[in-house]
Amino acid sequence: ILIKEYQIMEFAELIKTPRVDGVVLHRPFMPTVEGTLCLTGHHLILSSRQDNTEELWLLHSNIDSTEKRFVGSVGSIIVKCKDLRVIQLDIPGMEECLNIASSIEALSTLDSVSLMYPFFYRPMFEVIEDGWNSYLPQDAFKELESMTDEWRLSKVNKDFTVCPSYPPLVAVPKNIDDDTLKKVAAFRHGGRFPVLSYYHKKNGMVMMRAGQPLTGTNGRRCKEDEKLINATLRPGKRGYIIDTRTINVAQQAKARGGGFESEGNYPQWRRIHKAIDRYNVLQESLIKLVEACNDQSHSMDRWLSKLEASNWQTHIKEILTTACLAAQCIDREGASVLVHGTEGTDSTLQVSSLAQIILDPGCRTIKGFQGLVEREWLQAGHPFQQRCAQSAYSNSKPRQEAPAFLLFLDCVWQVLRQFPCSFEFNESFLVLLFEHAYASQFGTFLGSCAADRARLSLPEKTVSLWSWVNRPQELERLTNPLYEANSLVIWPSVAPQSLLLWEGLFLRWNRSSKCLDEAYEEMVHIIEYNKELQNKVNSLRRQLAQLETEDPLLDTP
């Protein structure tokens, strides 16, 4: 593979010094090692040539920013990764150091998607189940069909012309035809007409999501839009529209052609405004949070005020609260819900996916959660390519970056922590998804929507993350030993006192987790041993019962 990479001109031009000996690597919580540094088109590799193991094998796309420092003729490159790790390479020779640094910089910011590593990566493991076929919309729809016949799978977007960010197949009310959908799409931001996001089996209520309606300043209306969403209401029932923007922001959106559903045109719907931030605000919050976490000063006050100033926990709380609200409308009020913000690709998805975590026990299994990420984030058109281009250490001016997905994962972690027995997966799974969303050998998080993925032929040319995850040894690592299937709705507490900093992610490289890992392993061990003993007890009981029936003497003492 490596040779193949060298042959690609784009890479060869960028690598002036492919190899340096005597490089010293410093990493958090690991001994310093000296070895040979190699640069390839996609990796930074350091090997001390002992035990044939590579001490470092870092994807260029995982590098968020670099800094150079010189002391005499030894240069140091500080590499800050998107997974929040910071490592340091001491390189002898000024020129080598400069060459390496400029290569890393260039290689880590390549824009061309088709040069990304997933297109070169060949799996070294046996694919048991091709992840690209694991969560197809038509399969999800079959499940829906077994519960209700009020919905149909529309192919109106099959060539991505009606809505560029939607998948080719979407679920819509049965009595709404494709022509109506086209008209509705023209009335919604980015063509994102209301589609089914979740069907609540318990009471038949649904959650839909969309882009904002394009009412503009003069209150344009669209009969077809009204007809579509009204078609999801039971006779005499009202529904809720959860707008993830404040009323002010929604009002202002009118000036730019956007808007919201007015009471007059949507009398059967009650609109609720919440305040979930997006884009820059979130990105800055992440940057501040990570800065606070890396702060080495020993002042407790400073830490707590920096944590507070980052506002991260406030964002968590807003998102969780809004998701709880949506879930409450559906489960407790017995009403259907439509969620949207501006584009309907960020905060909308946070709310719709978290509400499902709360409501649907199926989403709390490992496969169920993959399905949720696939449905509500990947196929729903969250622009991963743009949002995850940079992480917390980047010096470049943020454009479209925003840790919307990371916030979602953090919220799931909060719920998982509050309900430690209700999830089939553990924290490691969430951390893994965070890492792969930002840099990965798999194609799952490439592109920004289904159309991108089709255009890049990702299913044919890259390996799916799910193919790797859904193998016994990986699944075992990601399984929560405390899991007990729980068919209930779980209501998380959103009181500020209940929300914690996600240490396993944000302090992962700042504090050694050795002792905690040991304790976790010990717990897993106890639980396994317990299961083993229970099996033994059961088989002994069976034997005893059998003996009793065979030997009547046992009954007469």
Partner: protein, 529 residues
């Protein structure tokens, strides 16, 4: 005065009790000399709530029409509410609670009346005595002796009758040193580090005063501690500015010129009022119901509680470093030597000594370093976070210790033989208890009231088989190594299990811990068969 004089209405029917984590229930309320008893009178249930009146920190009453509501705020941070029909009954009840919950007379307190069937007053009180402790520590005998100079509590009222001091220092010298130390608390041995023979001593401040009085005997005693080794460390739990001010009021510090083998390190630790106020602010923040994250975090910061936790742990870490890493003996003191000194000596022992991390070892440590060493529990724990009374001597030093131990437990989940449940139990017992262990301020007072003959010992009760099971850490794996806690602000957390225990959230987590625990006990049982 009889308890009955304080009880005008002993029984009220049709009272509604609201308590956290439970639905409201209706029943009968009784007041006795020491308890508030609520018995549910609902179809098919016979739930009872028994509350020690001593556990009540503050009460508030509200009248509306002919009925009244009493809000009871407990020292264990629980808040209960009683809806009582009848204005007069409500007033009577609240008056009784108010009086009975803050009776001062120790010998009338509940531990003197508590007689459980499975414990006998003939049982040994306490886990050990200074004599036994000394006898067991064979390696001490060569250089250290047990002195009975304080057998009648005349040399130091707050010390136990027997203390460990260097062999070569006789009782007459000790008497002179006692005069030179506040409250007579001359330097005594509190910990012997087996790995290198180094020791931790503790005392109170020297009474050098403004004109730099010195005491040859005191210098001699400290010199005898380090013997031939080149130096020792004095860890003063006050800032250097504070110690200079202390000279104005008769106190002081060991000056370099008279104690040239000792190096003084200053670490300012808050005590007394500052700590009490910090607790009050923290509890207020925890019960804040506004749903505002910024406000919560700034209130948490404002309370400074976590800063106190950090300072305590890092000072204890410093002490342990002096002894374990640098191989030097150390003396610890602040002002009186009854609060912060005990706090950091205890934590340092937990860090260094594997035996202190077992269930028995930890309880024995608390007995030695807090009960026998004369931490004034009676004064420090008279009130907790809700009290409106003006503070006198209240200060949650022991609670701060428990919080620090919890931080250790969280950072080293395998290293401690006991569980969070034990820390929670101790946090309750220290403020209101059936047992006599935390009564009084020192050994002398305990002796005078016959506490050891007339009450039961909490530590022994906690070591009964059922309790021992319950308070053990299922994940415990002994390690001989020192456990060095991280004191980075990012590593320290709010002790949610204690401070937020009455909120719905911790409830789920308790359920999980309960499950793990019962699983471990179950497999222990099966494995034995």
């Amino acid at each position: 005065m009889e308890f009955s004089d304080h009880i005008k209405t002993a029984n009220v029917e049709d009272v509604v009790l609201r308590q956290p984590l439970h639905p409201p229930s209706r029943g009968t309320l009784c007041i006795t000399g020491h308890h508030l008893l609520f018995s549910e009178r609902e179809e098919g249930s016979s739930q009872q709530v028994l509350l020690l009146l001593r556990n009540i920190d503050a009460i508030e009453k509200r009248m509306s029409g002919s009925s009244g509501t009493i809000t009871i705020k407990c020292k264990d941070l629980r808040v209960l509410q009683l809806d009582i029909p009848g204005m007069e009954q409500c007033l009577n009840i609240s008056r009784s609670i108010e009086t009975l919950s803050c009776l001062d007379n120790v010998s009338e307190m509940y531990p003197f009346f508590y007689r459980p069937t499975d414990l006998s007053l003939q049982d040994q009180w306490g886990l050990s005595t200074p004599e036994k402790h000394y006898t067991q520590m064979k390696e001490l005998h060569e250089r250290w002796r047990l002195s009975s100079v304080n057998k009648s509590y005349s040399v130091c009222p707050s010390y136990p009758p027997a203390v460990i001091v260097p062999n070569c220092i006789d009782d007459e010298t000790l008497k002179k040193v006692a005069k030179f130390r506040q409250g007579g608390r001359f330097p005594v041995l509190c910990y012997y580090h087996r790995k290198n023979g180094m020791v931790i001593m503790r005392s109170s401040q020297p009474l050098t005063g403004a004109n730099r009085k010195r005491c040859k005997e005191d210098e001699l005693l400290l010199q005898a501690v380090i013997e031939d080794s080149d130096k020792g460390f004095i860890i003063d739990t006050r800032s250097s500015q504070q110690v200079h001010q202390a000279r104005m009021t008769g106190g002081g510090f060991e000056s370099k010129s008279f104690y040239n083998c000792w190096k003084r390190l200053h670490r300012q630790m808050e005590r007394g009022k500052a700590l009490q106020e910090s607790l009050i602010k923290l509890v207020e923040a925890c019960s804040d119901e506004s749903h505002n994250v910024d406000r919560w975090l700034s209130k948490l910061e404002n309370s400074k509680w976590l800063s106190h936790v950090q300072t305590a742990l890092s000072t204890a870490g410093l002490l342990a470093e002096c002894v374990e890493r640098d191989g030097h003996s150390a003396l610890v003191h602040g002002y009186e030597g009854t609060d912060c000194s005990l706090l950091i000596c205890t934590l340092a022992q937990l860090i260094m000594d594997p035996f202190c991390r077992t269930l028995e070892g930890f309880l024995a440590l608390l007995e030695r370093e807090w009960v026998q060493a004369g931490h004034p529990f009676q004064q420090r724990c008279a009130h907790s976070a809700y009290s409106h009374a003006r503070f006198q001597q209240e200060s949650p030093v022991f609670l701060l210790l428990l919080d620090c131990v919890w931080q250790l437990w969280r950072q080293f989940p395998l290293a401690l033989g006991f569980s969070e449940a034990l820390l929670l139990r101790l946090a309750n017992e220290v403020y209101a208890s059936d047992y006599g262990t935390f009564l009084c301020n020192n050994d002398q007072e305990r002796c005078a009231l016959g506490v050891k003959d007339r009450t039961h010992c909490l530590f022994r009760a906690l070591l009964r088989p059922a309790e021992r099971d319950y308070y053990s850490n299922p994940l415990y794996e002994p390690t001989e190594l020192a456990i060095w806690p991280s004191v980075h602000p990012q590593s320290l957390q709010l002790w949610r299990g204690f401070f937020l225990r009455w909120t719905q959230l911790t409830h789920h987590l308790e359920a999980v811990q309960e499950e793990i625990r019962s699983m471990v006990i179950e497999w222990g049982r099966v494995a034995q068969r």
